[in-house]
């Protein structure tokens, strides 16, 4: 059987979550591997949330915020971007492929883009295979 990855996605309330809703109201189809958690702003995405997701068995984490300059809270998405870059470096040290985390900008009107992103990220993760960090943690703790 094909590997079906589990992906946790954090979406900001104003742009990306609305964009994902738009994909729904427009009946665009995308892969069911993405599970969405809503936060008020991509700036709220604490790195520990991402780590928690991997710890609990996620194979990939997708972060989405408003486009640069469009943040509802002015600059939360820039902060998210910095944390993302930091996380990627950190992932290399942890032994997690940095491709397993992705940040992208989805505006409230970009339903199609969200659906495409969900599909392409799922394919990336499917290609990478299951993330074994959960087993590692369980083995050593």
């Amino acid at each position: 059987m094909d590997f079906e990855p589990t992906i946790v996605s954090f979406l900001c309330n104003w742009c990306s979550y609305t964009g994902a809703d738009l994909a729904g109201t427009s009946r665009m189809k995308y892969s069911p591997n993405i599970r969405i958690i809503r936060v008020m702003c991509s700036g709220r995405i604490d790195p520990t949330f991402v780590l928690e997701a991997f710890k609990n068995g996620a194979d990939g984490v997708l972060l989405c915020g408003c486009h640069p300059g469009d943040c509802h809270y002015q600059s939360g998405n820039y902060k998210c971007l910095r944390r993302y870059n930091m996380l990627k470096k950190y992932f290399v040290q942890l032994g997690i492929r940095p491709e397993r985390i992705r940040l992208d900008w989805i505006s409230a009107s970009e339903g199609k883009q969200f659906a495409n992103l969900a599909d392409s990220f799922t394919e990336t993760i499917r290609h990478l295979g299951p993330c074994k960090i959960k087993n590692v943690i369980e083995t050593y703790t």
């Binding site: 700036g43 609990n56 902060k79 505006s107």
Partner: protein
């Protein structure tokens, strides 16, 4: 601590959800989860019987948490919170799982969709356990209103509110009121003079005792929240004036597309290629002429300049087709012997009196030619004085599929409507989101096209989307009605999802102070800890994810709530059992 009792309700949404998600299976999977007291599914949870079911269960089973798996929380979260309040529960003890927009409508595999729905509901159950009662805060609404932009939309809104006896502050960036509409000659479809329509309106606004005009004036910052905004304006004489207002109406308007980026039109290089706005000015002056001051024998009008083209703007600017027909009529009456060519992509003449204008114009010996933007735009080139006519426009005509050239002495480009360049700044100042095409996003595209996602901030006119004068005025007056309604009620209730600092853990590093976009966090030197000004805090949560010690709690989005949500989402118990 009291025992947690959760009621879980899975909605069919008619067949919308039930078709793709096995709702019985979802209920079966989650009803044995710890703390779940009641689990049901029902046809329409948002209907009165659905809400009554929740209220009854709360009372009967003493539920203290509720999860509804249905549509997007952006649609019905408020509905169910009200139901909870009705049953005597704090409305924040509620969580929604979005299994319609983000499951049923986007997936095609029923088994996978159901499994995903189970995990979303599980996540919501996990999260709601950590929810805490939050009180609403009642805020008095300041009866003054700030209107940004003195165009036809801004003035209409200002007049409506001022006529109801309420104070309006009207801020206009330029020296004159009237905006884009004041630069037009005649309006379509009835050829009323724009000046005659706008001038009395400007006089009314200027003379109104309830309207205070600031011009030329730019807004730099707005603090506060719905009901209690404030801003400081720098007056020309160097003074400052502090304004307090309860609502904001944004009417920043439009700017015309600059056609010089379309190389095939040679705008800026050929002096007789003019924009629609330049032509309006020519009409207002009362003489149609080429750059040499001669009457043009051949006039060409090109539609969709910058509109409906993926390279420029994908949207339709709505007014250009009708303006073009208006031009054709005006040219025909000024120059009865001229040849008029109308190069269009599609003729969009919807609305009252507009198709009639098209029919009427088509009988005035105007040659209508259709081009296709996908097959390349028309090319305007100069004849370099080798012919009697000064320019030729070359393109493939779509009905005849013939490669043709149109002689022209004057070419009018019907330029697209763009959101005003200042809109971006205003979006940050007033807290409005923008679409990809830089128009402001309304709260709901169908049900609430006037409000924005920021409470107390309304958008009217062409800053929201391209529209004509009557549509702008309608929207302006609708916004005025909304503002007057809140002023009339006098108070509003707001959720308190602000951040709070646990002073015992705070180490005083002040990282949160540096990340707060609203300057809502300040450092208390005496105590050595950060403090949150709950009036200024908008609840984005950035400070919460920055705090190294976990001293800051983002209310309703606490670390604990989100972490347990993640755990629920990824729980190995979420499975689909074939029956």
């Amino acid at each position: 601590m009291e025992e947690i009792k959760i009621g879980v309700y899975v909605c069919w949404c008619g067949t919308n959800i039930a078709k793709m998600v096995d709702v019985d299976q979802v209920v079966d999977q989650i009803k044995f989860l710890p703390d779940v007291a009641v689990a049901r599914n029902y046809k329409y949870m948002c209907s009165d019987p659905g809400q009554d079911m929740i209220i009854r269960d709360i009372k009967q089973h003493h539920l203290n948490r509720v999860v509804v798996a249905a549509c997007s929380p952006r649609i019905h979260e408020l509905t169910f919170r009200k139901a909870l309040a009705k049953a005597g529960l704090n409305p924040m003890m509620f969580q929604m799982a979005n299994i319609r927009e983000q499951v049923a409508w986007v997936h095609t595999d029923r088994e996978k969709a159901t499994k995903k729905a189970v995990s979303l509901v599980h996540a919501a159950i996990n999260r709601v356990k950590w929810h805490e009662s939050l009180d609403k805060r009642t805020i008095e609404v300041n009866p003054a209103t700030l209107v940004i932009g003195g165009g036809v939309a801004g003035m209409s809104a200002a007049l409506e509110i001022a006529n109801a006896g309420k104070q309006v502050y009207l801020v206009e960036k330029s020296k004159k009121l009237g905006g884009y509409a004041a630069q037009l000659d005649l309006t379509f479809p009835h050829f009323y003079s724009a000046r005659q329509l706008i001038k009395p309106m400007i006089r009314h606004v200027e003379d109104h005792k309830n309207i205070r005009i600031f011009k030329p004036m730019q807004i730099n910052q707005i603090f506060g929240y719905m009901g209690n905004f404030q801003s400081t304006l720098q007056l020309a004489n160097g003074d400052e004036t502090k304004l307090k207002f309860g609502n904001i109406i944004v009417a920043t308007g439009l700017q015309p597309f600059d056609p010089s980026e379309i190389t095939s039109y040679n705008y800026g290089k050929l002096p007789d290629v003019v924009t629609s706005l330049e032509f309006e000015k020519m009409l207002a002056k009362g003489r149609i002429e080429t750059c040499e001051g001669k009457e043009p024998k051949n006039v060409a009008i090109i539609h969709c300049v910058g509109s409906r083209n993926a390279n420029y703007h994908e949207y339709c600017s709505r007014t250009c087709c009708m303006t073009a027909l208006k031009f054709a009529n005006q040219i025909r009456s000024a120059l009865p012997e001229s040849n008029i060519f109308d190069l269009y992509a599609d003729m969009r003449s919807f609305g009252k009196g507009c198709e009639e204008l098209y029919t009427q114009t088509s009988r005035k010996n105007v040659i209508f030619l259709r081009f296709d933007q996908q097959n390349g735009l028309p090319e305007i080139r100069s004849t370099n004085g080798e012919e009697a006519v000064s320019m030729l426009i070359e393109f493939t005509e779509q009905f005849s599929k013939e490669q043709v050239e149109v002689p022209a002495d004057l070419v009018i480009l019907m330029v697209a409507m763009e959101s005003h360049a200042d809109a971006k700044d205003i979006s940050h100042i007033a807290g409005i989101s923008m679409c990809g095409n830089s128009f402001f996003i309304e709260k709901h595209p169908k049900l609430d096209p006037v409000a924005t996602t920021s409470d107390g901030v309304f958008i009217v006119g062409t800053c929201q989307a391209p529209k004509d004068i009557p549509d702008s005025i309608s929207q302006a007056k609708a916004a005025a009605a909304r503002v007057l309604a809140t002023i009339h009620v006098g108070t509003i209730e707001v959720d308190v999802i602000t951040a709070t600092v646990n002073e015992d853990i705070c180490c005083g590093c002040q990282t949160c102070v540096s990340v707060c976009p609203y300057k809502a966090i300040s450092f208390n030197k005496e105590k050595g800890v950060s403090e949150v000004n709950e009036i200024l805090c908008k609840g984005c949560g950035t400070c919460g994810s920055t705090c190294p010690t976990g001293a800051i709690r983002s209310r309703h989005f606490t670390d604990q709530q989100i972490l347990s949500q993640i755990q629920g989402l990824l729980s190995p118990d979420n499975k689909f059992e074939k029956m």
